[in-house]
Symmetry: C2
């Protein structure tokens, strides 16, 4: 189990979210482990003093933005000095600061997204971005422009995570899933396809052949699927809100 | 004046530094506004539960690291929705989230540095990095590996800050400064040269021709200089600790 460790209370700083992001990913399991799903749209809305157009004046000049956010679903579970990155098959342990693990001191993440538009809704700012890998409802702590000459390091070497994960599985559908998906938007169908092609199974389950059925929640829909002969088979989908009511 | 604004107390998070960075830059004025001074060395030491080698296991696989830090010299002064970026000559106002201004909500900065070495000193970790643009004593909040495929965006467009600032001034020395510098290490002499070649004057003073004498503190030495005919002239240097004692 993860442990809370003692803190250095003298140096504690207080920070607060500036806003919240809305994404199609209802849970961490659904979030792609690579930023390749560039057409997954998301929306950021702001709160309090940050909810004014002035704060974002000129941001459209930039094609990409950094989001600093809180891993809000992980933060309660604390952190450990050593973690097992999925990229290493879940076997090797690395120091938490040698990884982008969400279970980390201070619980902050950073992620680059493409900026689509700054819109004004009733005079309040709304940022439309795409390519996000954040769970729906993630608190946003800061937004900074992506500065190519400073941030894009040509000759950087990325250790065990140098290249993107190569796995992309074929995705097939049962007749039932096909019929159900036909009632959804093309955007949602693409989302389901892209998320499952990334193979969201935990690393330690990818080796084993198993008939295990997984569920992943996307935009309020629970999508059930399994891996058959190395390919994803989508079984069916159900509205989570209907199930729980 | 910058104003403290009301905060959303419900959502406040507590975070704490994991360590502190030691750099040659004693004050913000000395810090280069571009990351080109790649051979400026810096050292990060850790505190409390973060001060153990395990937390950094495997970090040497990565050539570059992200530092998330606190703009500790700016944070007390609060923030404003609009700022005047030096890159725009200090005239145009942009939204704070369209800039990397240090006067920003939550006071967090991020900067990429090259990793030189992870050393163990009495069994405790010490990270040696270079290329930093942080003031000496800056609190470090998080360290993450630089992941090229996710962080280096090839086709990003950086608005007003797309390319590095072009100004690099010639640096000349008075006989007195030359004599004083000869008693310092070659590393220190290079630091003085590189920092002043970047022209640390505020944007609004760069246009005016003026005999104004500036002082910049580097590694505890106060270096005095002025701009003469578009070139930096280093006048002399004094040990700040001797002055103040």
């Amino acid at each position: 189990m993860l442990q809370k460790m003692t803190t250095n209370t003298d140096a504690i700083m207080q920070i607060e979210p500036i806003g919240t992001i809305q994404t199609p990913y209802d849970e961490k399991f659904a979030v792609p482990r690579q930023p390749g799903l560039a057409d997954t749209p998301a929306t950021i809305r702001f709160s309090g003093d940050y909810n004014q157009m002035d704060c974002f004046r000129g941001i459209e000049q930039f094609s990409h933005l950094w989001l600093i956010f809180q891993f809000h679903q992980a933060v309660e579970r604390g952190w450990k000095p050593l973690v097992r990155p999925p990229r290493l098959g879940g076997n090797d342990k690395l120091g938490v600061f040698a990884t982008r693990s969400s279970h980390r001191p201070n619980g902050l993440g950073m992620s680059v997204v493409a900026l689509q538009a700054l819109e004004s809704v009733d005079g309040k700012p709304m940022l439309k971005v795409c390519g996000t890998d954040l769970v729906n409802g993630t608190p946003i702590i800061d937004i900074k422009p992506y500065i190519p000459y400073a941030d894009a390091i040509d000759n950087a070497h990325g250790g065990f995570a140098h290249t993107p994960p190569a796995t992309e599985l074929a995705v097939n559908y049962t007749p039932e899933a096909q019929q159900q998906l036909s009632q959804h938007s093309e955007e949602f169908r693409r989302l389901v396809h892209q998320v499952l092609a990334q193979d969201p199974r935990p690393a330690y389950q990818k080796q084993a052949s198993s008939a295990r059925i997984y569920g992943v929640s996307l935009q309020g829909m629970n999508v059930r699927w399994q891996v058959v002969d190395g390919q994803v088979l989508v079984l069916d989908l159900n509205d989570r809100r209907e199930i729980s009511s």
